[in-house]
């Protein structure tokens, strides 16, 4: 995977994870253009498209679009499953997740993503294990906070 973007139906970016080196300017341009392209697509169209020289896989969940750019050899159908797994993780963590959760707790959304994917590939295929790791890390955070002066 080269990058993953989450954005609302109004085109507001809620999460951007980049696995390839690009400057801030380049990232902005890609986000803007790609978001526009996807928002222009009709609901009856399929979840895959070729954009520039990338394969794009996207799916809409409620008011959020989850959009990934994958490599030529990557399996588009399993990428849909990756997206779905991430949504499930968010859902379990936040308890029936909605867009607001991701807005206010964007850093948590990143932490969860970083326990699921690393360098663009899945590092853990068990839902339970990802959630357990996040839980433990959260605990670590609280513990340290309490012991600070």
């Amino acid at each position: 995977m080269q990058f993953m973007l989450l954005f609302s139906r109004q085109g507001k970016l809620r999460l951007q994870k980049w696995y390839v080196p690009l400057s801030d300017k380049e990232r902005k341009k890609i986000s803007r253009d790609l978001v526009q392209t996807i928002l222009a697509r009709k609901p009856k169209m399929c979840s895959f498209l070729e954009w520039r020289d990338l394969k794009i896989v996207y799916k809409r969940y409620a008011s959020l679009y989850f959009c990934c750019a994958v490599e030529d050899q990557d399996n588009e159908l399993i990428t849909l499953e990756i997206i779905h797994r991430y949504v499930e993780l968010l859902d379990k963590y936040f308890g029936s997740v909605c867009e607001l959760d991701i807005i206010f707790n964007f850093e948590k959304a990143y932490f969860i993503l970083d326990e699921f994917l690393l360098g663009g590939e899945a590092q853990e295929t068990s839902k339970k294990n990802v959630l357990k790791a996040i839980e433990q890390a959260d605990l670590l955070q609280e513990v340290r906070l309490h012991t600070d002066p």
Binding site: L15, L80, F104, T125
Partner: protein, 760 residues
């Protein structure tokens, strides 16, 4: 409410979201950024973390946050886990490896890779594996390699993916990870297994040696895959009844790479592939994802034909799936295999054709490409019906490609000439404005060569013009035909269908109508005027034609004006030549020997590529110039010079080519032309132009003069430098223009057999 520095970022987000306009938001953000900046300057440790978090939120909204970069580094260096978490996140969002500042992270990451808490190690591994630059990877590869050997599966799986990143950044480091891969696949932990397979895949893809080395893992991979399929329900890894589909897909992909071009490995995986292909549940996307990967593997390795047919049939079933995503991947895969497994794909032709009616643009495009790939002599009639129907109703973005595809298919497989002409007509009338420019000369050649269909063709084209003159390619082809075969039109000779009754005046009305219409482009007008002119030798209404031609002698359009003036001259001074010049075009031969080269450069300047003119010019040139000739010139060599026989260039003009090798570049040949004139009159305004195929580069230096004196009293010399890096046979197209005895002369010829010494 004013956002407070001492509150968490939640408050800030809440506040910012209350902004009603972009301007209001910007103001809030600016205020907040100013406050954060001063807090950073005060080196306030307590609030750094939440301030960076706020900054990251604002950055996501699109505001600049570069002043927070160093703060992220300070957070990473902190001992608080909260700080590190936000610090690493900030680094991944705000830093990019092309800035030097990111290198400052290296030491921190190194320390954190050795931290006592695995979650801190995890953060470091994640960051390194996500954005580590080549230098960082070089520095830290050793640490990653160490962690790849740990028994802690939480770290091991991350180390494996981190190693993948390191290898991508610094391929030479791949070797050092080899020992650690030894027992990776013996792990029970699925996370480690998955990431290990990814690592192995990366190594095998990059290095043929690694590939050979890891081939022995095939039996083990097959076993793991088998266990996944056969094992009972495992709640931890289950997705809709399938056990760890992510791992299955990755294993299938690694098997593909290992089995490619190796018979033994392919055989070893044959059974499991068949098993997966037949037993995987297809009701949900996840099952189809596995089937898809399986099909890709089957098609890529050396599988037996039964397995390949099975794979294609799976794709065939995919085409019938309600899920458009499934149809999409099926069409994509079929496109890849249609050449190698043509017959198997043919069996699904009707389903593929149905996909032409799909609503999704990408699916339609693939269906169209596949359909063209499947057209053959047996199915041409049926397929063409579908494709023409598609052409009628498809989006404009498809029409050009579809039209070209139809023309090509028709050319290859047309069951009859009549069918061929009808098909072309159909395309021109329904998608005429989208047809590519180069189709016009191709179609004209086709029509010319279908001698027995001339009457039918011109009649149909004439009728089409009566209906619609807006589609330029149609109008151009029609004009040309009417100019050529107008006599057949008015004499009502059509056999194929009821001949129409039309008079010469009516035909001229139509052609003149094209000249004045706003819809006609300049090119079309040119065709139309020339057609009218040609009819002067086919029709009896010569006076009318003379009138038209003389009117356009003062046209604003320079091209049109020139033609009209020259046609006028044809009537006045060269009337005796007119019938010969305007007679029926002969059958044009497709010169296959000219090859695919395109002539690109003339006179040392680059011109845009001119389409390969295999066909002679289609519009007759003005009367007192002669059209191009192209044939081999006899060349004989003497002592490093070579001569071009002078019966090629007319009027007593002789061109001699001499050559020498340029030092120090052996790829450059220096050719000098010497032009001499045996006639009694000077040749003035002499211009020599040359063009060479694309793989060469040519430079023409200035000529010595542009008068070739009469009676060999001097010569014009000019130096040509030819760069020939690919050491190919040199060919040159030569064009001469000059004035002789008061008249302009143009001569074109090809020099095809330059002696080897001139270009080797």
């Amino acid at each position: 409410p004013v956002p407070s520095l001492h509150q968490g970022h939640l408050e800030l987000i809440r506040t910012i979201r209350t902004a009603r306009t972009q301007a209001e938001e910007r103001e809030m953000i600016q205020k907040e950024c100013a406050a954060i900046r001063s807090s950073f300057r005060e080196e306030d440790n307590t609030y750094r973390c939440r301030n960076v978090a706020k900054l990251l939120y604002m950055h996501m909204l699109g505001y600049p946050a570069h002043f927070g970069q160093l703060e992220c580094l300070k957070l990473i260096a902190s001992q608080k886990f909260t700080d590190k978490r936000i610090g690493y996140l900030g680094a991944m969002l705000l830093l990019d490896e092309r800035q030097d500042v990111h290198l400052l992270m290296t030491n921190c990451i190194k320390n954190d890779l050795n931290h006592s808490t695995q979650y801190v190690q995890g953060l470091a591994l994640c960051t390194l594996g996500c954005m580590g630059s080549s230098e960082m990877c070089r520095d830290l590869a050793g640490e990653v390699e160490k962690l790849l050997k740990t028994s802690n599966s939480y770290l091991r799986k991350k180390a494996a993916l981190c190693a993948v990143h390191v290898i991508r950044k610094v391929p030479e480091l791949m070797e050092m990870f080899l020992p650690a891969t030894k027992n990776l696949l013996s792990e029970k932990n699925h996370g480690v297994l998955h990431t290990s397979v990814v690592l192995l895949t990366e190594m095998c893809e990059r290095s043929p040696d690694m590939l050979l080395h890891f081939r022995k893992l095939v039996p083990q991979l097959v076993r793991i895959l088998k266990n996944l399929i056969m094992s009972g329900y495992s709640p931890e890894h289950d997705v809709s009844g399938i056990s760890d589909p992510f791992l299955q897909v990755r294993i299938l992909r690694l098997l593909r790479i290992l089995g490619r071009s190796d018979d033994d490995s392919s055989e070893a995986m044959n059974d499991i592939l068949a098993q997966v292909a037949t037993n995987t549940e297809t009701s949900k996307n996840v099952g189809n994802a596995i089937l898809y990967e399986t099909v890709l593997t089957i098609m890529d390795i050396k599988s037996e034909s039964g397995l390949r047919v099975l794979a294609i049939n799976i794709l065939g079933r995919f085409l019938l799936n309600n899920d458009k995503n499934i149809r999409y991947v099926a069409l994509t895969s079929l496109l890849k295999t249609v050449q190698t497994d043509h017959n198997a794909v043919q069996r699904h032709r009707s389903t593929i054709v149905d996909c032409l009616k799909d609503l999704d643009v990408s699916i339609k495009r693939r269906a169209m490409e596949l359909s063209f790939a499947l057209v053959n002599g047996n199915n041409i009639r049926g397929m063409m019906k579908e494709l023409l129907y598609f052409l009628d109703s498809c989006d404009p973005e498809f029409k050009a490609d579809c039209a070209s595809g139809v023309f090509l298919a028709a050319e290859k497989y047309a069951p009859s000439k009549r069918w061929h002409i009808d098909t072309i007509m159909r395309v021109l009338t329904t998608a005429g404005s989208y047809v590519r420019d180069d189709s016009v000369p191709n179609l004209i050649q086709l029509i010319t060569n279908s001698v027995e269909m001339h009457a039918y063709t011109v009649q149909r084209l004439y009728k089409a013009l009566l209906d619609d003159i807006s589609q330029q390619p149609l109008v151009q082809v029609s004009s040309w035909c009417i100019g050529e075969y107008g006599d057949l039109l008015v004499s009502g000779q059509c056999e194929e269908e009821e001949p129409i009754q039309v008079t010469e005046d009516e035909v001229l009305d139509v052609l003149e109508g094209l000249l004045v219409s706003n819809l006609s482009t300049p090119v079309t007008r040119g065709y139309s005027l020339t057609a009218i002119m040609k009819l002067s030798t086919r029709f009896s209404s010569v006076n009318r034609i003379k009138k038209v031609v003389s009117i356009y002698g003062s046209s604003i359009d320079v091209e049109l004006q020139q033609r009209a003036v020259e046609y006028n001259a044809l009537f006045k001074k060269y009337d005796h030549m007119r019938p010969a010049l305007l007679e029926r075009m002969p059958i044009m031969e497709k010169t296959a020997s000219n090859g695919p080269t395109e002539i690109v450069q003339t006179n040392g300047e680059t011109e845009p590529s001119v389409p390969d003119t295999k066909h002679p010019p289609l519009v007759t040139q003005p009367a007192n110039q002669v059209t191009a000739r192209s044939h081999d010139i006899s060349v004989f060599t003497i002592d490093g010079s070579f001569f071009v026989t002078d019966d090629v260039f007319k009027n007593g003009l002789k061109i001699e080519f001499t050559f020498e090798r340029a030092n120090p570049n052996p790829n450059i040949a220096v050719i000098t032309i010497h032009a001499t004139n045996t006639t009694e009159d000077d040749m003035t305004e002499f211009v020599f132009q040359a063009a060479v195929p694309k793989t060469f580069q040519l430079q023409l230096l200035s000529p010595s003069s542009n008068i070739v004196p009469a009676l060999n009293h001097g010569s014009v010399t000019q130096v040509i430098r030819v760069l020939n890096p690919q050491k190919q046979q040199l060919r040159m197209r030569v064009k001469l223009t000059y004035t002789h005895k008061g008249s302009p002369v143009q001569d074109l010829a090809e020099v095809n057999n330059f002696p080897p010494q001139s270009w080797q």
